[in-house]
């Protein structure tokens, strides 16, 4: 069945899709957003107190992808047989309107400018030979200065709480001394530091580091954004990650953009629409629209459009490009093709300190985006020369609220018993008197870490699953081990009665059974060279110029920072250039 034509089709109703839909309707285009999950509203998902039912929520994955319909296969190395990821654990892609932007925590960073040109910066500082064999280190082909207005716009839409370091070159607050200059203040003051974060702040400063309060898309006060959308203030209940915020305080496409978009007659949202492929014309240089499966009727529908925006979750973007034949699939043996190349993740390890029983950290308190961090070991902020690795990690106390079931499953940590009275006593001590410190680090790209179509397994719609070939590499393990070693002085300074330092072990393989982070990246990266990037600096497909691919899929490396702020800025950056350049003269915006 053909459903006619719209000016632009947007695939996926998460942050990137909502931003592009808002921008393109503002430009006067008729826009149809296709979302394979359900529509979602705070009125329903945030209906208190059912909204904070942990069993139904984060434990049974209420807002996450339904793996019984489609998933990925995973293997560590080429030569192994990949098997399907059947239980959500290591990473948690979202599903439904809002996408991962509905269940995220809210840590809202910009970018470390050096990370945007990491290859050039590493070579300039340490020489070409510093880059290990097999590491596909690349630049984004966009600068922080170019992106700054779009970081600023995204923060104003998200209602981000934070403290600046400099604004227009002048010291403006006690924010991150390593943060790049800003054109304007955060729209809201920083979230308050919970007790554990304030202890970390003092201790980190005492040992010579530069702590700052995390920028958070958790509103520290009531807020009205430029679209007129309103947020309530966060009450530190701790139900951010995995939940729809019942206080309307955590930024989401649902709270911050869709209220305005839904009023626009040029905007159409179709849910339960699973896109099977982007349709191309006969010479595969132009997209004509998409074919989707209407999950309510089980019928295929084709919808035509002049412009197709692929803005689903990172690996869905890559999957859809491969299924549609957009760009050349990456082949790690021949080292050709770009789609699936530079698949990246993040390294994250969580260390714990126990404080005297007079110190109540009360881990149930928290906010997903709030906390205190140091950037002394992130990006190019320290001397890698004697250390011999590329990359780095911010380090932080991000007390996001430990929910009872998750805390019990995680256990009391240390050498405590795993059951019985000893377990309970230790659990009480940990829940009341401990705090965690994360090393939330980068992950570089490697020639033999990539995405392609699985040769064996198909999804419920008879399409091949996406295959992940991924494991930890020595460079990133050594980076993590070094940064974790730098946490130890903070633990001592805080007066910890005991502490455990968690780090990646040498030779450790990626284990899908344990939660790491949902910050997957790459696979359809941006860059200046069509041989090593799938999209140009405007996130336009090199091969099919009326297709734009927006998301963390564009990241050439996994950065130390949380990705959402960068995704939102890239979405606004791309949309701005679609509006100002592409729509006036459709075609390639960068000549290959």
């Amino acid at each position: 069945m053909n459903a006619g034509k719209t000016d632009a089709i947007i695939i996926g109703a998460g942050w990137a899709g909502a931003i592009l839909a808002k921008e393109l309707t503002e430009a006067g285009l008729s826009v149809t957003v296709l979302e394979r999950g359900d529509d979602r509203a705070t009125a329903v998902e945030g209906d208190y107190p059912g909204s904070i039912d942990e069993l139904r929520g984060a434990i049974r994955h209420r807002l996450f992808q339904n793996l019984s319909q489609t998933t990925v296969t995973i293997r560590n190395t080429i030569g192994q047989v990949a098997v399907p990821y059947r239980r959500l654990a290591a990473f948690l892609p979202g599903e439904g309107v809002g996408g991962a932007g509905l269940h995220w925590s809210g840590v809202h960073f910009r970018v470390a400018p050096d990370d945007l040109a990491l290859r050039s910066n590493v070579i300039a500082r340490y020489g070409r030979n510093f880059i290990p064999e097999g590491m596909n280190l690349q630049d984004y082909d966009v600068t922080y200065e170019e992106l700054e207005p779009f970081f600023d716009k995204a923060e104003k839409v998200f209602g981000t709480s934070g403290e600046p370091h400099t604004i227009k070159g002048k010291i403006a607050g006690k924010g991150n001394t390593f943060a790049p200059d800003r054109s304007d203040a955060f729209p809201l003051p920083a979230m308050k530091d919970v007790y554990s974060a304030s202890l970390f702040k003092t201790a980190a400063a005492n040992v010579g580091y530069h702590p700052y309060s995390l920028p958070a898309a958790n509103a520290s006060a009531p807020y009205t954004n430029p679209y007129g959308a309103q947020m309530g203030p966060c009450n530190f209940c701790g139900y951010c990650s995995g939940y729809d915020c019942y206080m309307y305080s955590k930024a989401s496409p649902n709270v911050n953009i869709l209220p305005a978009l839904r009023q626009d007659p040029k905007f159409t949202l179709i849910t339960k629409a699973h896109v099977l492929k982007v349709n191309l014309d006969s010479d595969r240089k132009k997209a004509t629209g998409v074919t989707y499966l209407d999950l309510r009727t089980n019928r295929q529908v084709s919808l035509d459009a002049d412009l197709v925006i692929i803005s689903a979750f990172q690996f869905h973007n890559v999957h859809l490009m491969l299924l549609s034949g957009i760009g050349r699939p990456y082949d790690p043996i021949a080292n050709t093709g770009t789609v699936g190349r530079n698949f990246v993740y993040q390294t994250i390890t969580t260390s714990r300190a126990w404080l005297p029983s007079t110190h109540y950290t009360n881990l149930f308190v928290g906010a997903g985006g709030a906390g205190v961090a140091i950037d002394d070991f992130n990006s190019m902020n320290f001397d890698h020369g004697p250390l011999g690795f590329v990359g780095g990690s911010p380090v932080w106390v991000n007390q996001a609220g430990a929910k009872p079931i998750a805390a019990a499953i995680g256990g009391p940590g240390g050498k405590a018993p795993t059951w019985g009275e000893g377990y309970k006593d230790a659990m009480v001590e940990t829940y009341r008197h401990s705090l965690t410190i994360d090393a939330h680090g980068s992950n570089m790209a490697y020639r033999d870490v990539y995405l392609d179509l699985d040769p064996t397994y198909t999804d419920a719609y008879a399409q091949p699953l996406l295959r992940m070939t991924f494991t930890w590499k020595d460079n990133d393990i050594r980076m993590n081990q070094y940064v974790v070693s730098r946490i130890e002085p903070i633990m001592k300074e805080m007066g910890a009665t005991r502490y455990s330092l968690a780090k990646l072990e040498t030779g450790e393989l990626f284990d899908t059974r344990r939660y790491q982070t949902t910050h997957l990246g790459g696979g359809a990266v941006m860059g200046a060279d069509p041989k090593t990037s799938a999209v140009n600096r405007y996130l336009q497909s090199w091969d099919v110029p009326n297709v734009f691919v927006i998301g963390a899929s564009a990241f050439p490396q996994g950065m130390g920072y949380n990705p959402t702020g960068m995704v939102a800025a890239l979405a606004y950056w791309s949309a701005y250039h679609i509006r100002t350049i592409y729509l006036k003269n459709p075609g390639p915006m960068v000549q290959a």
């Binding site: 529509d39 509203a41 705070t42 009125a43 329903v44 209906d47 208190y48 107190p49 006060a221 009531p222 009205t224 679209y227 007129g228 959308a229 309103q230 947020m231 309530g232 203030p233 009450n235 209940c237 206080m247 309307y248 649902n254 709270v255 869709l258 209220p259 305005a260 839904r262 009023q263």
Partner: protein, 443 residues
Amino acid sequence: MKHRAFRPATILGTAALLLLAHLPQAHAEGSDNPVARGHYVADASDCSACHTVKGGPPFAGGMAFKLPMGSIYSSNITPDPTHGIGAWSEAEFARAVREGVRRDGTSLYPAMPFPSYARISDSDMHALYVYFMKGVQPVARATPAADIPWPLSMRWPMSVWKTVFAPAVQSAQQDVNRPFPDPAIARGAYLVEGPGHCGACHSPRGLALQEKALSGSAGTLFLSGGAPIDGFVPTSLRQDRRTGLASWSEDDIVAFLSTGRNRKGESFGGMTNAIVHGTQHLTPEDLHAMARYLLTLGPSHPAAPAWHYDPAAAAELQRGDATARGARLYVDHCAACHRTDGKGYAPVFPPLAGNPVIMSDQPDSLVHVVQSGAALPGTARAPSAFVMPAYGRMLSPQQIADVVTFIRAAWGNNAPPVDAATVAELQKSAPPPVLDGKPVPLN
């Protein structure tokens, strides 16, 4: 407040200015087009709130009004010649709107606020007629017959009612032309008393359900608060210090009428329809005019003490003392949004301290919002919708009585307690729980 239509009057004397001020016209921004002007008058008159069923074709009628003696239904007022008003002359249309007389000479039920619409000016009435004839799509759908049993179904007593209680059009129009301090206030009075028909809900009614006062010239009963409608109690819109608008500024009133929310409170119940269908579409100039007029209405209870914030309840809660009746329930269910100090986080979460709805002698509205929840839909100028959950799902009548008593007593509100029997009685008239309504606000 400058009014562009009156600018030439500045060179005239005061008397002439007031005279001009009494020729109110709806002024859809920059429009001489009578269809557009009529559309604006229809918005100002909130026609669609009753004549358009949610999700149905505009103005096709059929909305039920459940009365003790049976149900009546709003009419099809589209220009369909058979089922609507397409065959009506302008005079017949004006007679129905202003006098409640149908084309066949029988009477309309005064659910139609013709005692207020009697004040609508000739030019607005003309624009309204043109709009309904040319700007609305005809819909061939019969209006359901009222299911009121005989003899109550006879409409002739309505003629008697009208003779006694409804104003003659001439005197209503004369009242519109009474003197006002300035043209904006005159314009505001016209909108509030006439098309806006605020008094239909916010003025008290007599034994025969007639409004006891139809304009500001008829004494302090006008807009002094009405009887419950669908369970909710319309508040006083006069300068009553505890139960009226004494603490609201002009901008507060404008924000409320424009967006359903301000720093003092949020809309619920029938007022939300009035805002969504009506006032949100008015120009800022007209909203300011309405606000300025409302601010001229003196208190109906001038002896009532002013509200002053009392920090005692907040201090108790903040030192962990939740022993007051209902305090623990308040902390567990309400304080996350409305705060222990009762000040809320306006405009998202309204303050409870000093809120006229809460200090009313009648606890109906507060009880209903607690037990059924409330949904504030988005408007054009404030697109976000907000929903308060329905606590009737988890709290017993006793618990609701306790928490409502706490809210009514705390922060200087000093309103009388509520007992479980009252809550149980009010449950019979409770609106459906908020998420049972369709569509659910998406936000």
